[in-house]
């Protein structure tokens, strides 16, 4: 009889609780959510009659959800862009061997230690436009005081959605090549989303800075020296040496920030709510609203599944890629 490998048994026993818990509380409930999203549970009392994909059909026909998707996409793109650009610039500046580097590094990184709720509340105060009776408040007041009153505007209370006007030259051109749908408010950026991006990027760009700074410090001086000896200009060094070497960092930053922004909820709740004409509404907020206010559990679950798929599209290739590169090591 083969000797029982105690080590192995113990290892399995020790792992079993967390494997079991993950299986039930993560994958089990994902499965349950998927099941509910196919059911008729639209009231307090559960009704598990299966109705196929009709919840999804209705969901994608729902104007609020369409606006939510637009907001999520535009928020994610703007947020990533701003975080990466600002983060890289800060890292680049700090990397210039300045004095008191530690202080600057901490100042830029600290916002990340705050929860989105706090960020949201503070930025709501900052960006509340004020009213005719009470006068301007927050940033608008600042503009007024320094003589830039013309910059005052409604921030997240402004219903405007920037998009390509269908009757403009570009709109006409798109119409002619069969892409007329691009010139509609459904493909655009609402003012409210811009306000949200400001707050979110303020919080998270310090984090990208930290990542980029680590990356920059990892590029050896010999490489730069070698390039200089070969006669490369500083700009060439930046675009041909440094940025390509930072690509893995950029990828990690995109993955991490991307899934934060796709799931964003707390910032919206604290800062703006769904906004005028849902200008700052996001799928996660709609999910909460329809499930716990409207009792529409089926639709809420359908939104949850859509969110999961969106995040999976971002995360799964990254996981595959990272496990593969680990295996190669």
């Amino acid at each position: 009889m083969r000797q029982i490998k105690w080590e192995r048994v113990v290892a399995i026993l020790l792992l079993a609780p967390s494997v079991l818990a993950t299986a039930i509380f993560v994958y089990g409930f994902i499965g349950f959510t998927g099941y509910v999203s196919l059911s008729k549970w639209t009231n307090l009392l559960p009704d598990f009659t299966l109705v196929g994909l009709s919840n999804y059909q209705r969901l994608f026909a729902n104007q609020r959800f369409q606006i939510d998707l637009r907001n999520t996409v535009s928020f994610t793109l703007l947020f990533l862009l701003l975080c990466l650009v600002v983060g890289f610039l800060l890292a680049f500046l700090i990397d210039q061997r300045i004095r008191a580097e530690g202080i600057f590094r901490s100042i830029y990184l600290f916002p990340m230690a705050i929860s989105f709720i706090v960020t949201g509340v503070v930025w709501r105060w900052l960006l509340t436009p004020g009213s005719p009776e009470m006068g301007a408040t927050g940033v608008n007041l600042l503009f007024e005081k320094v003589g830039l009153g013309f910059l005052k505007w409604g921030w997240f209370t402004d219903p405007v959605v920037w998009h390509i006007p269908p009757d403009s030259a570009v709109g006409q051109f798109l119409e002619q090549i069969g892409l007329g749908f691009l010139a509609s408010p459904m493909i655009g950026i609402s003012a409210g989303v811009v306000a949200l991006v400001l707050a979110a990027a303020w919080q998270m760009s310090g984090y990208t800075m930290a990542m980029y700074l680590a990356g920059l410090r990892g590029i050896s001086d010999e490489l730069r020296e070698a390039a200089r000896v070969d006669g490369a200009s500083e700009l060439q060094i930046m675009f041909r040496i440094i940025l390509p070497l930072l690509r893995p960092i950029t990828l990690s930053a995109i993955i991490i920030l991307g899934h934060i922004s796709l799931k964003i909820y707390d910032l919206v709740v604290a800062m703006t709510g769904p906004g005028i004409g849902f200008s700052t509404d996001v799928p996660a907020y709609f999910m909460w609203d329809t499930t716990f206010r409207g009792n529409n559990f089926a639709r809420g679950s359908a939104i949850a599944v859509v969110l999961l798929v969106m995040v999976a599209v971002l995360i799964v290739p990254y996981l595959v890629w990272s496990t593969r590169s680990e295996a190669e090591l």
Binding site: N43, L44, L45, T128, G273, P274, G294, N295
Partner: protein, 507 residues
């Protein structure tokens, strides 16, 4: 050796997983009896004896138990966690008993903080936590205590969000088979949300024994019936359709409140010409646009047609609904620009400041104006709703699994009684659901509402849960939120129709 070590670790892990069985308590053992001094708080004791301010519920619950077991030593029980009187003797429970209590304590179930009286407890769930409504509720509690002494009333309120937070807690308790004895819900179709046939029980007996069918208006009785049964007793009535206006401004400009939408436009033009914001609204919280539009619908349709919208007998695609949306759009062209940033009371500041002319909002506005010491307001039905009362009402219901059924039934008797309603409504700033309340108890606005209540056609409010199930009501509000931003009548009407289809009422 290593094997042994591994096994040992494993054994320790397994042992920690086994929950320690809580030892049963025979009476409460006090580790100390303290006399309350000035500036003492429960959380202060909790910090002193247990090293954690959050342990205060253990002191409250176990002290109250001790007070019930041994009234001679502890004559005072703690009714409100924030109120201790100097000189009371408080039982500080033993540490293990406190820990055992806290291990099972659920903040959503405040009744565990109270000992049961001789005749048990009455756990009343509501979202009335502050101001006049809390005082009104306390008034009804006093009447109940007089009539049914020996019952310990537990006021299980959950603050916030126009009842949203309360409803979330309440649903969990209902689904878990552990409800309060009675809880607040909007009268009307909101009851469908609670799947009454499963979770509630009909209260037809109480209607019969208390003669409630004779004192409530017939239109209200129709509204309250769901599947031919009554599921709750309404305590108050609010009116959704009231047009508030600044009386001084109207006087100066020689205007009268508009009776129809043409007049509304004329009045608005006159106000605008005078440099006044003609119509004000706040839409920040997402329900206000839906609230105003239900009044516009009621003003454009007949009462029968309006009711038909919610039962599927009148089509949302009817040209009259188009007309209602056009009317609303016309009104929106006179609205204040900053409405997305304001709540309804923020918009009301325009009226108080004399910079806004008219506002449509429910009759809680009257109480709000009073609290702001503003008297220069007048009221009228919004355009087209003369003789129509768009009503919403709070009622109390009877859960199927109410732990103290008899106490709960007696509570509903108090809710429906003349005495109970007269105690509650003047405080809350609403009128009685009964038609026989004494008008002298109410202020001028409420008296006029009482007259209308007894003679108008009564239709249900959708924005406040009377006309439709919640999923439909939220979809309806979503459509209106979009409409206010876009002004697209065709899309708005299609959205309203789709919401009706999704609710399973329209085809």
């Amino acid at each position: 050796m290593k094997k042994m070590l591994n096994l040992l670790i494993l054994a320790v892990l397994v042992l920690t997983l086994i929950p320690v069985a809580a030892s049963a308590q025979e009476g409460v053992v006090c580790q100390e009896e303290v006399t309350v001094a000035a500036d003492d708080w429960l959380s202060k004791y909790a910090d002193k004896y247990f090293g954690n301010v959050l342990s205060w519920p253990a002191i409250m619950a176990l002290h109250n138990q001790a007070a019930a077991d041994d009234p001679a030593s502890f004559p005072n029980s703690i009714v409100n966690a924030d109120i201790l009187e100097v000189g009371w003797t408080i039982c500080i429970p033993a540490e293990d008993a406190a820990e055992a209590f806290l291990a099972t304590y659920d903040p959503d179930k405040p009744e565990t903080l109270y000992a049961a009286g001789e005749s048990g407890q009455l756990v009343v769930g509501s979202w009335w936590t502050a101001g006049g409504e809390a005082e009104g509720l306390a008034g009804m509690f006093r009447i109940y205590e007089e009539q049914y002494p020996g019952v310990e009333i537990v006021n299980a309120t959950v603050a916030g969000g126009a009842g949203t937070n309360f409803k979330a807690v309440n649903k969990t308790r209902l689904l878990g088979g552990d409800p309060a004895d009675t809880f607040q819900l909007h009268a009307g179709l909101e009851v469908e949300t609670y799947s009454p046939e499963t979770y509630l029980q009909p209260v037809d007996d109480i209607y019969a024994s208390e003669g409630l069918e004779q004192v409530f208006p017939p239109d209200l009785l129709t509204l309250l019936k769901y599947q031919d049964h009554y599921w709750g007793v309404p305590v108050n009535i609010h009116r959704s359709n009231v047009l508030w206006y600044n009386e001084a401004l109207f006087g100066e400009l020689g205007l009268t409140p508009p009776a129809n939408f043409e007049e509304f436009q004329q009045v608005a033009e006159a106000l605008q010409a005078a440099g006044i914001q003609p119509y004000v609204m706040g839409t920040k919280d997402g329900w206000e646009a839906g609230h105003v539009f239900e009044d516009v619908l009621a003003g454009t349709l007949t009462p029968e047609e309006y009711r038909g919208l919610w039962t599927g007998e009148f089509s949302w695609m009817d040209p009259k609904v188009t007309q209602a949306l056009e009317n609303f759009k016309m009104m929106l062209s006179y609205v204040n620009e900053d409405h997305p940033a304001l709540t309804w009371d923020g918009a009301g500041e325009y009226l108080i400041g004399g910079t806004g002319g008219m506002m449509i909002m429910g009759d809680w506005t009257d109480g709000w104006f009073t609290s702001k010491e503003f008297t220069g307001y007048g009221w009228a039905p919004p355009p087209g709703t003369q003789g129509i009362f768009v009503a919403l009402s709070d009622s109390f219901s009877l859960p199927a699994e109410a732990p103290n059924l008899e106490n709960a039934e007696n509570w509903l008797r108090v809710c429906g009684s003349l005495e109970g309603q007269e105690a509650f409504n003047p405080q809350k700033g609403s009128i009685c659901a009964r038609t026989d309340c004494d008008p002298a108890l109410f202020n001028e606005y409420l008296q006029s509402a009482m007259v209308d209540w007894s003679q108008d056609a009564i239709v249900p409010s959708v924005a406040h849960g009377a006309a439709a199930i919640e999923s439909w009501a939220t979809d309806y509000k979503d459509v209106l939120t979009l409409f206010v931003a876009s002004g697209d009548v065709a899309a708005g009407q299609a959205g309203l129709q789709q919401a009706c289809v999704d609710a399973g009422v329209c085809q």
